[in-house]
């Protein structure tokens, strides 16, 4: 054991490398518990509902959504931004682990990356679907065509296309490459021919050679380094979709950093939710220790402070500007008007409740951690709702004000994305080691 006065043990208990392999492959090698089947059934039902909503949107059209002339972006874009925000945590953990050499992230990295992949897939569905004719989605790619048209490279909407595509590819690459040695472990432990063949295919003939490991470590560190600015840029670009417009409440320079911090905040909250569930379900508290959850709670505490500050800055600048439209949006419509319920839910859930994490007792209480993480995600959904709908529904001209409510199809598409996420995560848990086995073995001896 490498004794350290500043590093808490990353793996608890006296475990050999073989014990680590056995414990971390157990969820994949044993029959799943009843809760897994219940989860998959629920996920499948949600997926079916989403499938119906998708079908309605494609065949009948976007008239089935609750969008109006003024509120051209509704639940579709709220949910897009929400899912993209959640998807930031996985890459953030990978960056902590690979770039900042935070070894404690080793046990969370894999599941967080899986969460990112599925969240970004869910997010990408919304811009595709909201085009109205998603079968013409290839129009947004710059290629020589018979229409003799090129795309507008000046538009953040196009930057979003490149950003989301690059982010999805990067997330999948980081996630998959990170698991190659573990897939090799699964291949060598597999007892039936089909499992051996499938794990063998995806493990790319990995033989544990240090020469290959050298190149592999170099590649993963490189990808981690590339992912760092990408993570910052993706949500910044999503914020710029709003910032570059002229609407009161949107046209503000604070949006890019505000969205980025909000994304990390909601992503970490979702990771906390998933880690709490997983460590209880698979009895892996020796790998995802109380200290890991404590560290995530601390990040949430600081994130909450920044978000709270951003809310104050927005309101202050709206008042300080003297622009009556900005003052109306922030001081009337959001704080006391039609959107006040959503606004105060947002403020309480994001800026106030997470402050309990200043207390160690709260950071070490599983129920508090779980409840606050759920509330943060609810709060972040309402934040996107407030930003989008309040500025669209009540903008410059009162005669064009409308009010927005989602239809069953809007709700269906959102529920469908939850189905994708739940089914995806459950399949991941079932077939792939949820914790990076080779990394845990490498860092097993760190700590005191």
């Amino acid at each position: 054991m490498i004794a350290s006065s500043i590093r808490w043990p990353l793996v608890q208990g006296e475990k050999s490398y073989s014990d680590i392999s056995n414990e971390l492959t157990a969820p994949n090698e044993t029959k799943p518990a009843l809760w897994w089947y219940i989860g998959m059934s629920l996920g499948t039902i949600m997926l079916a509902f989403g499938g119906w909503a998708f079908y309605q949107s494609l065949t009948i059209g976007l008239g089935t959504w609750g969008l109006t002339n003024s509120v051209g972006w509704g639940w579709d874009i709220i949910n897009f931004v929400w899912w993209i925000g959640i998807g930031h945590a996985g890459t953030a953990f990978t960056i902590f682990f690979l770039v900042f050499r935070q070894k404690w992230a080793a046990s969370i990295n894999r599941a967080a990356e899986a969460m990112t992949v599925f969240a970004v897939m869910c997010a990408a569905l919304f811009p595709l679907l909201h085009m109205g004719r998603p079968w013409l989605a290839f129009f947004i790619m710059p290629y020589p065509n018979t229409r003799l048209l090129w795309v507008n490279f000046n538009s953040p909407l196009l930057w979003d296309v490149f950003a989301i595509s690059t982010y999805l590819l990067m997330s999948i690459t980081l996630w998959y490459f990170g698991m190659i040695p573990d897939l090799a472990t699964m291949r060598d432990r597999a007892t039936n021919k089909i499992s051996k063949a499938i794990y063998g295919f995806f493990s790319m003939g990995w033989d544990g050679s240090m020469i290959s490991y050298n190149r592999y470590e170099s590649l993963t560190r490189l990808l981690g380094g590339l992912a760092a600015p990408l993570v910052i840029s993706v949500h910044t670009i999503v914020a710029l979709d709003f910032s570059i417009s002229v609407l009161p409440g949107w046209h503000a320079t604070i949006l890019p950093p505000y969205f980025f911090v909000g994304a990390i905040f909601s992503g970490f909250a979702m990771v906390l939710t998933i880690m709490i569930l997983m460590r209880s379900a698979f009895k892996i508290k020796d790998f995802i220790t109380d200290k890991h959850l404590d560290s995530i709670a601390k990040v949430l505490k600081y994130g909450s402070l920044v978000i709270g500050l951003a809310y104050l800055i927005e309101v202050f600048i709206a008042w300080y500007s003297g622009v009556e439209y900005e003052m109306y949006t922030f001081l009337r419509a959001r704080m006391t008007g039609s959107f006040s319920t959503a606004f105060w839910i947002m403020v309480v859930c994001n800026a106030i409740i997470p402050q309990v994490f200043w207390f160690k007792k709260a950071r070490r209480n599983i129920w508090t951690l779980f409840a606050v993480s759920i509330m943060i995600n609810i709060g972040m959904w309402f934040e996107r709702y407030v930003i989008l709908i309040s500025s669209l529904a009540e903008d410059f001209l009162p005669s064009s004000w409308t009010h927005y409510s989602p239809t069953i199809v809007d709700i269906g598409v959102f529920v469908g994305t939850f189905g994708i996420f739940i089914c995806g995560m459950l399949l991941f848990i079932r077939h792939i080691p949820i914790i990076a086995i080779n990394e845990i073995k490498a860092y097993k001896k760190h700590g005191n």
């Binding site: 507008n152 063998g200 020469i211 050298n214």
Partner: protein
């Protein structure tokens, strides 16, 4: 004639490191070391620095220049459209796409380079030294065996768990 290598097994990477140091001091050439995880001290001692990051810089530059060329050609030469009176050639918005495509191009080309250089790809048959290599055991494979007895002594003194002579099928 089949060539037999000396293979030493280790359960502890620190013991392996001692053995590696001993063999390197005595200028013994090794085929490879196989193990369940990468230990940075072993990688530093045994392998050379990978040139992949240098290639990544090159790929990034190529990607950046290519996408700039595409944007310049499409927006300035082929079909210049005035969007709200903004300049036809405006570099700042191009920076965003250049940044993203640089990352995209570097990622794709670096991954392909890794596949080509390490010669691993989906579906490649695995030729592993032993199933325990992905579990809990390190295998050190010696290249030449012109003085096998001496090498075995050094390995034994360094703390190897097991020493064997075997043909390698990797």
């Amino acid at each position: 004639m089949a060539y037999k290598h000396i293979i030493a097994t280790f359960k502890d990477e620190n013991v392996l490191l001692k053995a590696l140091t001993r063999l390197q001091e005595n200028k013994v050439n090794l085929v490879d070391i196989y193990g369940p995880f990468a230990n940075h001290d072993i990688l530093k001692k045994f392998t050379k620095e990978s040139r992949l990051p240098y290639m990544a810089v090159l790929y990034g530059l190529i990607s950046m220049v290519s996408i700039f060329a595409l944007m310049y050609y499409t927006s300035v030469i082929d079909y210049p459209i005035s969007y709200g009176g903004k300049p036809i050639f405006s570099f700042p918005p191009m920076v965003v796409i250049m940044f993203l495509v640089t990352i995209l191009g570097t990622t794709i080309l670096s991954v392909l380079t890794f596949h080509g250089r390490a010669f691993i790809f989906p579906g490649k048959p695995a030729k592993i030294i032993d199933p325990k290599v992905t579990d809990d055991t390190f295998y050190l494979v010696v290249d030449q065996n012109y003085n096998p007895d001496e090498i075995k002594v050094w390995l034994k003194e360094s703390g190897a768990d097991e020493i064997m002579e075997k043909e390698l099928n990797t």
